[in-house]
Symmetry: C3
Subunit: 129 residues, 3 copies
């Protein structure tokens, strides 16, 4: 198994994402459902994107750790932020959670009309171990 | 090939989804495009989320059956509901279509500003056989 | 490795997409982050969906070519168009970029409340080589 993060010549470079991630088989793929800012009891942790993104990233880490993996194993993530809320707060939470020494995943970001009741941000991911 | 649905300690549990699904290679992966509430002629089956979700799930089943698989092989699905329509009707359709004995897939749910003309719900999926 | 595009009996057929794509392992999977209408300097190429979709597809092609692949290797793509802008302009760009001799990918299309600042369209993809 090998995972390569690529940023081909001719494309803009960003510290926040890789343009694509190449996965050679055989590998173990972990499909992680959209995580929200809820705690172990299913309660929303707070009313801000920053709080909710921090918790969603914590949930992602918990899932990955249960498989002996970490956030660094994410190859692609899908971020949705509810309309009217700043994406930037989510990026700030990411920068807190992410080790800048690891190449970042490919990313998809949508501002959506809504999420489940009370949710302001949802982060789903595919990870490869 | 092995597929494991995981719900690690420290995360909220729901009967409606698994937190993540782990896929060991080699496996056959089926990428299913977003299914809408359209019949074999491409006609929209009705004006409600419930009717459309029921048909979209039927389309997913048809696709999977053509590969000798079933809804139980879905590891992740991506559900979009058009703004102003209740997500709950989609969940009701899911509960009708889903065998509760099977571990549910990981899930991503977005309320979107819109879909194709007349579409109220779209369900895409990744399945593993 | 084998990739099969399927359109099972009982489902509507469209020249614009396949209902699903089946991937046998082992294969190399390329997870491509959402591409926008930005050039190599990160600048938005123009204010229309058509211009931005054309550039996003060019970026996808650049990424795939850097791996010895092409748009024909895409098995699934996720298209988001900002609310208030016609999806059709994106399809026109697709028809320009896509070789009609190649079976089209599975597709998911959402109209979203927004994307990053100035972006009208985002195209993410999973490709298999």
């Amino acid at each position: 198994m090998a995972v390569r993060h690529i940023n081909p010549a001719g494309l803009h470079r960003s510290p926040a994402f890789s343009q694509a991630v190449v996965v050679e088989q055989p590998a173990k793929t972990i499909y992680i459902g959209g995580q929200n800012g809820v705690d172990a009891a299913g309660k929303i942790v707070g009313p801000t994107v920053g709080e909710q993104a921090t918790q969603a990233l914590r949930n992602l880490a918990t899932i990955l750790e249960s498989e002996g993996a970490s956030l660094a194993n994410i190859v692609h993530w899908t971020i949705a932020v509810a309309d009217g809320h700043a994406i930037n707060d989510g990026f700030a939470a990411f920068q807190q959670a992410w080790n800048p020494a690891d190449p970042p995943p490919a990313i998809t970001v949508h501002v959506v009309a809504g999420l489940g009741p009370g949710f302001l941000v949802e982060i789903g991911a595919v990870a490869v171990v």
